[in-house]
Symmetry: C2
Subunit: 309 residues, 2 copies
């Protein structure tokens, strides 16, 4: 019988938010099976936007007033379904796009300049006086950006500083300084490195398909820092094994955490565990927005960062 | 009894030059123990400048007229000793400094954003739903450049594009836009990331000593893309094990290839096998300068890129 509003954290990796939220709210954690009587108290869900929202659960929460995504992305949330129930959705936009762009540049360097492979070779005794690993320079490499949003633009600025050229494709023209190709296939055909940086939704699932990979080609590099759903992962694995695609550097996967056995015999891959946007500074910024949105809800104020219409 | 000048390649990893050199020269390879009678024919040595030059060998080569470094660096060559014998030394300046700078940025990202560790963790099954690796953003990180030459300047431009600030130290002032600190210790004290980018010589052996490492501190990152001799490697290993230095990302070592057992239990390291400047494009540029210097020598023309006075 508390006076404090109750919130429910959905994903286990968000557990560290508990301490901050408990300063103001009663906090339940989904994976700890909250008592049934809590269901009538819970007023907000705190979620990572890349995970599918459990709509059956929502229908058991009569007091629910907000879906608060801790993340920038909210592709796991059926916003239309929520709106039809009068449930607003908030997220954390424009907080970590530059960190994600840094990560994309890191993945390009790690793959092209073979940093991860070099570290592995050296540690396993494979560096000998006879052999020196020669890698391709970044100079003049053609980067194709899929989706010229905040992340895409931040990647483009960095790519140019590293002597690469930039073009992009997205479904809608944008007022940016880089040229847009007519189609995604055209972009892939004229790129050495394709960086997937667009928002994921139901319409672009598997956007990077076998045909796009073949167009990128046997010396092409596919980088994904957006969402695993945007890439046909089975086709990707097949293309890398067949050598019809040169390399892939991925931070996101169809299922997360991805099963490592899936990648064990796939050549020319650099794989990071969805750490692109997860910096100390970004997490702090996302936490601030989360707390502000919750505070606005319970104060009856306008939400600070609702998802766009 | 050939009419073609004879050249001797000294290091085994330069063996791939053979094919190019053989179009014009008789080529001997040191590690294949050339016949004694070749000694009187050899007119040029082709060397990697980071390796100590065998002066006893040189004294057995009466026709020797040139030490041609394939590399930009020539710290293994006692240029004064060569000059005293009327032996000019050439090298390959301003060819690969931007690739080395790219590599330095890659090492910074690989260490700070834990790309190598992330790849290792994911592949070994260490990515679980409970844990998400949080890494420090590059935003606002203070980069200290040791030696503001071509590499240092190229690193600085890139660091700024990645939202880091730059200052530097070197023994002489330079006309660059970044502030120079009064001392190396001052630079280390006020840097999060120290990038060693200076030319190595007899005077700066062990320049990055235990005191500099302590000044960089327990959350500091040391990056070396210059020469192993510039860093006191025993002190480095001790500082990393003790945690008085946070991390190191190295492309160069006191001995190369470095013994991997030396690094087996040293935490927070990213280690690449001296691949910073070894790109396809740079190697092509270095080969061009090598062939031009040899051609100039045998045509009696001025050498194209002699080492500076």
């Amino acid at each position: 019988m508390t006076q404090r509003p109750a919130v429910l954290i959905m994903q286990r990796h968000l557990a560290p938010l508990t301490g901050f939220l408990e300063s103001t709210y009663d906090v339940y954690r989904f994976w700890e099976h909250p008592p049934v009587e809590a269901e009538r108290d819970i007023q907000a869900l705190v979620v990572a936007g890349e995970f599918p929202l459990d709509t059956a659960l929502i229908e058991r929460l009569p007091s629910l007033r907000l879906i608060a995504c801790f993340t920038s992305g909210y592709d796991g949330i059926d916003v239309g379904w929520c709106r039809a129930r009068g449930l607003p959705v908030t997220h954390a936009p424009a907080v970590n796009h530059e960190d994600v762009a840094d990560h994309a540049i890191g993945l390009i360097l790690a793959s092209r300049r073979r940093l991860v492979e070099g570290d592995r070779t050296l540690r396993s005794g494979g560096w000998t006086p006879e052999a020196r690993l020669i890698t391709p320079s970044l100079k003049g490499a053609r980067v194709g950006i899929v989706g010229m949003g905040l992340i895409g633009q931040a990647v483009s600025v960095r790519a140019e500083a590293l002597r690469m050229s930039v073009q992009w494709w997205g479904p809608r023209p944008k007022d940016v300084q880089w040229p847009r190709t007519g189609t995604l296939l055209e972009l892939a055909r004229s790129s050495d490195i394709l960086v997937v940086a667009c928002k994921a939704d139901d319409d672009n699932r598997g956007l990077i398909n076998a045909e796009v990979m073949a167009a990128l080609g046997s010396s092409g590099l596919l980088v994904n820092v957006a969402r695993g759903s945007l890439v046909d992962e089975d086709a990707l694995i097949q293309a890398l094994k067949a050598g019809t695609l040169g390399a892939a550097a991925l931070d996101v996967y169809e299922d997360e955490p991805t099963d490592p056995s899936r990648w064990a015999d796939v050549p020319n891959t650099v794989l990071t565990p969805h750490t692109g946007g997860a910096t100390t500074e970004s997490v702090q910024g996302m936490l601030t927005l989360l707390m502000q949105n919750l505070a606005a809800l319970f104060a009856g104020q306008p939400l600070v960062t609702p998802v766009p219409d």
